[in-house]
Symmetry: C2
Subunit: 116 residues, 2 copies
DNA sequence: TTAATATATGAACAAATGTTCATATATTCA
DNA sequence: TGAATATATGAACATTTGTTCATATATTAA
């Protein structure tokens, strides 16, 4: 910790430090971004944002093994980014809420605008 | 790729597959989420969303080494999430645009709502 | 019941990541 | 000029991650 710099107002910095979200919140946020960082999981979310799908359908749409997809879905499920409903032997996945969709769209927009 | 499942409409799936963002876009989006996945980088962005800061100030506010902060800033810079301006011997960092702030706020809201 | 289908999970391994340490560069001040 | 300050960078390391392979579980159909 550097506290020598003339620009540093220690009182202000201390206050800003206090105002950071608590560790638990930071951890949960980073966990979500961590989940959105994988190509496979991103594609799953893009697909689910169009329509709910069973694992078979995802398997058919993506170029990774069914096992990889199941693992990815578990991660997304644990963060409550997607949810499942069972229909007979099928597991139908869908987006947990609109937040996810907005997140992805925003990011998409950022990327598209920057490369334009 | 499983194409046997009775739920799979191969034509539809193929079409959805075509509509996925291209690989380059997916990669850039995942790179951004990847950057937002680190506690240190998240905290930096939270701090910068309040006011622009030099490395000293960040160093003072965070509990990692100056080296770690510089490395983090480089990552954020390369993705155009933050920008620098030089002022004498100081490097002043600030958020590149509003997107980042919105992203973080959204995610914050998601986490807060879900744990409520 | 048995076979087939749909999904989940554990182990293992390569690849990628974040941090620290040591050091380099750049700017200012004396 | 030299010393001090501010920032950046490369190497190295432990840790984490995503995938595949093999296999387990669950549901349906015959």
């Amino acid at each position: 910790m550097n506290d020598a710099c003339i620009r540093v107002d220690k009182t202000l910095i201390e206050q800003m430090k206090q105002n950071l979200p608590d560790e638990q919140t930071i951890n949960r946020i980073s966990a979500i971004f961590q989940a959105l960082q994988s190509d496979t999981r991103l594609k799953i979310l893009f697909l689910l944002s169009k329509k709910e799908m069973c694992v078979c359908e995802l398997d058919c749409a993506l170029d990774v093994t069914q096992s990889a997809i199941s693992h990815s879905l578990r991660t997304l499920r644990q963060l409550d980014l997607v949810r499942v409903k069972k229909q007979g032997r099928f597991a139908i996945y869908y987006l947990a809420d609109e937040h996810v969709k907005i997140l992805i769209d925003l990011c998409n927009k950022h990327v598209t605008e920057c490369s334009a």
